[in-house]
Each structure stands twice: as structure tokens, then as C-alpha cells.
Subunit: 202 residues, 2 copies
């Protein structure tokens, strides 16, 4: 078993943090995204979309999509739970994780992808969309600050995969100059708490 | 328990099909999206994002995000499984469901949202992005046709939530004039099979 990884991209970091929180060690194989090794026909046998991370099992099965990889390990190693216990808690954490993906992580990623030099020639860029998503990402920061007014973590009292998704998004937002604002004190408190967990360095 | 529903929007349909496949009956309360009832402060107490569907539990807990609602019922009523059995199968189905969301459903939705009259004044539209996502949706149809060359359903031999997501996306694509092409015979065969299940009418 191994994980095809990029140490600089935000999605592989989600999986690394998840595994660090669980205390699971899986070998990582670095894939050079600057040289577009992930876009080669050989790599696309592992993930036709040419994206990282990819978990390769010992039987050759390749699983991509960060949360699908996390789900695999959550099923095998339920403790500590990062996706909830029981139907209601699992649904609430899934809701919050998806909100963090759809309304924070994706806008942050689009703000970067649709205007940055790195993606020129790699994707069709729409700079006007980058601007819109830049604004949406800033709105998501404000919303997150409100959410965190009455609880320590995004989905409630416990650290979960939703916090991992949000942390990776907030850190990735810096490349687009989207930062926590001085008045966003709840968001700042949460950021300090989740960033200082040992897993954040994974 | 009830579900706030829109009988014309694609996301609530995902949940209705999921429940029909499980044989679960939950009362639906129709929310008038044309009159933007979902955007009112009162509805936003149930989902601050103003989106449908929303599952309201008897204790008042509101769960939004279609897949989070599906997860809730999958946990309570595992048979027939629509999200897989065991770690590996669950991860593979999650991977395929996410691929259908990110590379099919979202492009289809964006192709509509960013150019259609209905969303004028409701969201900031970027028509150039609508065009790009229109093309991406067409590419996803082609990819899906390839995927379905060697298997009956999107994630393998069994009907799963990935098929539900894809069916709702393919049907929703018609409003943007994106249709299964005559040469996409695998996709057409799959579409015929999933559309003729009784759940498709839910």
C-alpha cells in the first residue's frame, strides 16, 4: 500500500493530516506536479483525472478523491473518529465537511487556478471567475467566523474531517492573498487551535 | 421527521431516488424556489445557505447537503446498500460519487446557473464560465461513456449512489441542451437502465 502524494498541493495534505490524527503510517511517493508527472498516461492508469492524492492498495486497486481515501481508513481504523459516530453525527459531519468543500475549499482553489501562472496552459482559465470565487472565499471566511462563535470546531465539540478540509483551504488561500481578518476573532482562535495540532505539520 | 423538497430542482431528486431505492417513506414539504422561499430568513434557520433539500429530524436538527442526508439513511437502513459494503467498496463508491459530482453534476449545474434567466439577480453570473462548464459537462458525458464500456453501473456491478448522482445530472443537463450523443452507446444503455427503475420517478 502506498499513497501518491504532492507535498505542496492542498488535497494530499488533507489525507496526510487525517492519517496523522489517526496515527496511521502509509508510505508516500512524491509525484512531481511541476513537471506534470500526474498528467502522464502512465499516472492516468492510476487516476484517469490526473489528480492527487491516490491510494494504491496491495491488490493494485487505486482510490482517488481525498475524502474517499479518508473514508477507507475511517472504516478500517474507526478510532479516533474523524467522520462521526452514529447516523446523526456522521450526517452532521458530512454536511459540514461538504460545506467546507463547496463553499470554502473550491472557491479558494478556483481563485488560484483561474488566474495563476501555474495553471496557464494546464486548464482553460476564466479570470472573471477567479475574481468571483475570490470574493466567495472571503465571504466563506466571514461565515466560518460566525459559525465558530459558539463552538470550538466546525461540526461541533469534536475535531473532525471538516476542520481538516477548512484548515487546508485557509492555508491554501494565502497564495491568493486571502487571509483571516483582524476582526475574525473566532476564526483566528480556531485556526490557532487546529494549526498547533501535531497533525498540521504532516 | 420531514424533508424540505423542491420537485423541480436536481439535488432534492437525488435524495428522493435514494429513499425510493431503500423503500423509505419520509413526508416531503414543497418549498417554492421560484418565489425564493428558500432564501427567506425563516428558511435560513434550517439551512443558512438557503439551499434544498433539508432533512429536519424530530428533535429539530436540520441536515442539509444531499449526500449527508443519504448517509443518515444509509446508516439507519443499510439494506440495500447504496454506498457500499466494507471499507474498500465504500471507498470506491465514494470515489465514483465524488467524480460524478465534481466532474459531471457541478459542470452541468454551472452551465445552467451562470447563464440562465432564472439565476439572473440571484447569483453573480459569469457567462464565460457557463460556456466552459458546458464543454466540461460534454466531456464528462464522453468519459462516462468510456467508463460504462466494461460495466453496468458507474461504480461497478451494483447500482449505487454514484448512478443516482449521474442520472440527476444527465437529466438536468437537458435544460442546457447537453444530451447523450448517438455514438455514446454505453451511456445510452446505462441511462435506459437507470431511468426505467421505479425510483427514477420519485
Amino acid at each position: 500500500m502506498k499513497i501518491y502524494n504532492s507535498s505542496t498541493a492542498p488535497n494530499p495534505r488533507r489525507v496526510r493530516i487525517f492519517l496523522a490524527e489517526k496515527g496511521i503510517t502509509v508510505p508516500y511517493e512524491e509525484v512531481d506536479i511541476v513537471k506534470a508527472v500526474n498528467r502522464t498516461p502512465e499516472f492516468r492508469k492510476k487516476n484517469p483525472l490526473g489528480l492527487l492524492p491516490v491510494l494504491e492498495l496491495d491488490d493494485g486497486t487505486c482510490i482517488s478523491e481525498s475524502v474517499a481515501i479518508c473514508r477507507y481508513f475511517e472504516e478500517l481504523y474507526p478510532e479516533p473518529p474523524l467522520m462521526g459516530r452514529g447516523a446523526k453525527e456522521r450526517a452532521i459531519i458530512e454536511m459540514w465537511n461538504r460545506r467546507m468543500e463547496l463553499y470554502l475549499f473550491i472557491p479558494v482553489a478556483d481563485a488560484f487556478r483561474h488566474q495563476h501562472e501555474f495553471f496557464k496552459g494546464r486548464i482553460v482559465q476564466v479570470p472573471e471567475y477567479a475574481q468571483l470565487q475570490h470574493q466567495n472565499a472571503q465571504k466563506a471566511f466571514s461565515w466560518l467566523d460566525e459559525i465558530l462563535a459558539d463552538r470550538p470546531y466546525i461540526a461541533g465539540d469534536q475535531f473532525s474531517i471538516a476542520d481538516i478540509t477548512a484548515l487546508c483551504a485557509v492555508d491554501f488561500a494565502r497564495v491568493s492573498k486571502i487571509r483571516i481578518q483582524p476582526e475574525q476573532k473566532n476564526l483566528a482562535r480556531w485556526y490557532e487551535a487546529v494549526s498547533s495540532r501535531p497533525s498540521a505539520k504532516a
